[in-house]
Amino acid sequence: MVSLEDLKKEAKQILKENKVKYIIGYKKSTNGLMPVPAFIKEPEEVEKLVWDPTCVFNLTRYLVDEKRRKTKEKEPDERPVGLVVKGCDSRAINILLQEKFINREDVYLLGVSCENTGVLDEKKLTKKIKGEKVKKVEFDEKDNFIITTQEGKTKIPAKEILANRCLECKANFPVIYDVLLGEKAKRSIDNPFESIEKIESLSTEERWTFWKKQLDKCIRCYACRSVCPMCYCDECVADTISFAVTADTTAEEKAQKIKWVEKSPVSSENFIYHMVRAIHLAGRCIDCGECERACPLDIPLRFLNRKLEKEAKELFGFEAGFDPDQPSLISCFKDEDPEDFIR
């Protein structure tokens, strides 16, 4: 079990020793059950830290902002940032390392194990307890969550309210860390691609209908992009201004803007946007599920990323985020790679 006290102790220690400039973790929100990110600079603030099954967010996204801030500073603070990471989050760290976006010494990782279970899906929980106000959710030693409501404590099998991604998780403990809290418990999953296989079994027409319905909902708020730790490009292909305007950009170049994707949320453009995003995440997505969680229209975005994850696994034996030294999926090839799909 991860002891919250241990986490606080570690956090306090590294802040006291000036090992990190600040720590990003989770703290209780002033409203509602779900926590909010905590940016902790002072040792005494560590008391705010929480760790429970509601800590769903992938905090590695904040490293993107951190890097941007740092590049602008004249005399940047070179100390690392402390970061609380779950298994999936730690794999995002590996991708950022692999792509040399960050260096290992830029982060101090407080790894927390998901204890054989995972984090919960707020919507599933609300449904399950039928609108009662939840005060607290805790892991228990087994496969249950302990829910505290006004009525008292109840045990709910974790499986029933786990976030979808946790049901298919490959590593529910950190694969890279400086301190590890909790045990390296590995949950065995019968079929990590169960949900995607259901979609795959549909006919082309059925799939088209499914995706058209889903993607037509998209209002192009780009929440999926904003929350994704891999979407760190300064300029996104989906933005109409296209290729970055920099100090060297000539007036002619500015005039030559390419509109690969139109801004308007219509079917064709929505399809292109989401396809491009999925392709750009191939071999990089570590399935933290943040895009799907952040989507205000409940588009099942994980399916797109999972499909590519499955292809990469089946065709090339590639799994993202386990080894920061491996070359990325789309930039490496082996002689034994299959090529029978080339026609």
Binding site: Q98, E99, K100, F101, Y232, C233, D234, E235, V237, F243, A244, T246, A247, D248, Q256, I258, W260, H280, P327, S328, I330, S331, C332, D335
Partner: protein
């Protein structure tokens, strides 16, 4: 806005038969930026090219699109044409409306529509083309030849005699390859060693040739005109300068292993000279069969070596060389006998392969030229030769024809008859392929003068029975089953690329064909070039070949290499990748993906080595931030081309 001229070629009826070229010309004349548009029957002809030159002058064109055949054929022609009219050659683009349109379509209306779109997209591309100058690079005027068989020897001699320094690398202890193992050669029956050894001697004495035997290519970097080669020189443990060839060492060596030169028909010692005429003439201590390099393990050879030529402390050496061109002549091996177990090869001592039979016939062979059975040293009175063993068998073995077997089997039958006048040769064949000068006559001679009995059909079973080898087969011409009590069976086993060729090809970045032979750049027009500029192919490494063909290709490869080495400088296409450092995040994906090793990271940003870059655009396609693009094929150009193709 540019002033573009569009020229549409009929290519006789190759294009005009399917594409309404007049309509294409008319449509294009209305396209933005096009100030001149016309069609002509053969644009690549002199009058056609003059048309372009005239139009450039008359209309003050600054860019040109030629809608014709593939750019691999006439891009250079038309770029030179516009250059002669004073326009930068990179302001000329080709719209391929033949291979990509007229040849693959039937419906004229639709093909015309597609041709218009293809041409329009080329116009859009050329509108944003930069004027570029070729990248000039110096040339290292030396060559590397890999493989010391007849092909490698010929290439090395041709290069050296043209005045260029050559490094000839051979992995075995002597040059000579398989040809030195042969007895006599078809169709003239001259002694193989007698015609090859003068060339081998010439190699060894040539001041321009640096011979590295018992050596292997370890690493190659660089590019056409400037390759850097690392060669591993394995230790022979014998100093050739001190060795007096007294042969005392082999007399005391306690180890006997199969002799590769005689294909296992004889044995050799751990310290050995491959054959008497070996070049270089020296001994090699084969570390794999030697009991140990310590005097305590054996040390007998060093003890008896008076000139103290044997040096157990010899170490592998890495030789680094710089060359401008590379010829690969790694030759062939015979198809593994393990794979041909159905013919009892490797099981019965008297079932031999073609090369083993060559050794039996050879005056320098294990029986000094007498044809005797390996099992009991008796003269075989009935010998069955089987052709196409492993060749032309797409289901089980090699789909290709090994080309030389028909001829050498006829030769074997002939030589056998000359050695054993009262013997009978039977030849099982599928059909006889005897194309070549004097070849058909040679086969006829084997039948008529030497009584070789040709049986058309395949052998179904071979087994040993009372000291004979029973051969069951069928003669498909008479429809009769055949049973022969043979004294010896000789298999014309398929040729396959020599062992290690695949590994070497990877190091050199030369493509392999489906059978593992080295791929030529074009099967008809560039048969000695590999796809990698500056690397050429010679001999059986490229495809099964007989000696005259291997020699011809070797000389061809040498001529191609000389075409590079004779230049002061080479020019490289300037359509290379360019990095936008402001967008580059230094993730290094382009570095991994570049097939030419032309990218590297410098201060956290990608950097292009323009000389190595071939402009393939793989980096551009891989880069998630669109931070790298190929000159004159930028994302903006691609975008506009897509727009034009979609009719926008």
């Amino acid at each position: 806005m540019k002033r573009t001229g569009v020229f549409i070629c009929h290519c006789g009826i190759n294009i005009a038969g399917t594409v309404d070229v007049k309509k294409v010309a008319k449509e294009l004349s209305n396209h933005t930026g096009v100030v001149h548009s016309e069609e002509y029957i053969y644009m690549c002809s002199d009058p056609g090219q003059n048309l372009i030159i005239e139009a450039i002058k008359e209309n003050q064109l600054d860019s040109v699109v030629v809608a014709c055949c593939s750019p691999t054929l006439h891009e250079t022609t038309f770029r030179n044409t516009v250059k002669s009219a004073g326009i930068n050659p990179f302001q000329c683009e080709i719209a391929n409306i033949r291979e990509q349109c007229s040849w693959v379509h039937k419906d004229m209306e639709k093909a015309t529509e597609k041709a218009i779109k293809l041409t329009k997209s080329a116009v859009e591309r050329v509108h944003r083309n930069e004027s570029l100058d070729p990248i000039s690079i110096p040339v290292t005027r030396r060559a590397l030849v890999v493989g010391g068989g007849i092909a490698g020897i010929q290439s090395a001699l041709d290069l050296a005699n043209s005045g260029y320094e050559v490094i000839l690398v051979e992995r075995s202890p002597s040059i000579g390859g398989h040809m030195i193992q042969l007895s006599e050669t078809f169709p003239t029956l001259d002694c193989s060693q007698c015609i090859l050894t003068p060339k081998m001697v010439e190699v060894s004495k040539h001041p321009k040739i640096k011979l590295l035997t018992y050596s292997e290519i370890q690493d190659i970097s660089g590019y056409v005109g400037n390759f850097k080669v690392k060669i591993l020189k394995k230790p022979t443990y014998v100093d050739p300068d001190k060795c007096t060839l007294c042969d005392e060492c082999t007399k005391v060596c306690p180890v006997v292993v199969p002799n590769e030169f005689d294909l296992g028909l004889t044995g050799r010692r751990a310290v050995y000279m491959p054959f008497p005429q070996a070049i270089p003439a020296t001994y090699t201590l084969d570390i794999k069969s030697c009991p140990g390099l310590l005097p305590i393990a054996c040390g007998k050879c060093a003890d008896v070596c008076e000139p103290e030529a044997i040096d157990y402390d010899m170490k592998p050496e890495i030789v680094e060389e710089e060359v401008g061109a590379i010829i690969v002549a790694t030759g062939f091996d015979l198809y593994d006998k393990e794979l041909m177990a159905e013919y009892g090869h490797g099981k019965y001592a008297d079932v031999l392969d073609g090369l083993q039979f060559e050794r039996l016939c050879s005056a320098s062979g294990p029986t000094t030229g007498k044809i005797l059975r390996p099992s009991d040293h008796k003269e075989p009175k009935e010998v069955v030769f089987i052709q196409c063993v492993g060749s032309r068998d797409p289901e089980l073995h090699c789909a290709y024809c090994s080309k030389i077997c028909c001829m050498y089997t006829a030769k074997h039958a002939m030589l056998y008859k000359h050695h054993v006048p009262d013997g009978q040769a039977y030849i099982f064949y599928i059909d006889i392929r005897s194309g070549g000068k004097g070849y058909e006559e040679f086969v006829q001679r084997a039948v008529e003068e030497d009584g070789a009995l040709y049986l058309r059909g395949k052998v179904s079973k071979i087994f040993e029975d009372k000291g004979k080898i029973k051969v069951w087969g069928v003669d498909t011409l008479s429809g009769k089953d055949i049973e022969i009590d043979a004294d010896m069976v000789v298999l014309a086993t398929a040729m396959r690329p020599s062992e290690g060729a695949e590994e070497l090809a990877k190091k050199l970045k030369i493509a392999l064909d489906k059978d593992g032979f080295l791929s030529e750049a074009h099967p008809k027009l560039r048969p000695v070039e590999s796809v990698t500029p500056g690397m050429f192919l010679a001999g059986a490494a490229q495809a099964p070949k007989d000696i005259p063909e291997a020699v011809a290709q070797a000389s061809g490869a040498a001529a191609k290499a000389i075409a590079i080495l004779s230049q002061e400088r080479l020019f490289h296409a300037p359509t290379v990748a360019k990095v936008n450092v402001n967008l580059c995040t230094g993730c290094g994906m382009c570095v991994h993906v570049c097939p030419y090793d032309s990218l590297s990271l410098k201060d956290g940003k990608a950097e292009v080595n323009e000389v190595l870059c071939e402009g393939c655009g793989t980096c551009s396609a891989t880069c998630l931030r669109a931070a790298i693009e190929v000159k004159n094929l930028t994302p903006l150009q691609v975008n506009e081309m897509i727009g034009a193709s979609l009719g926008g």
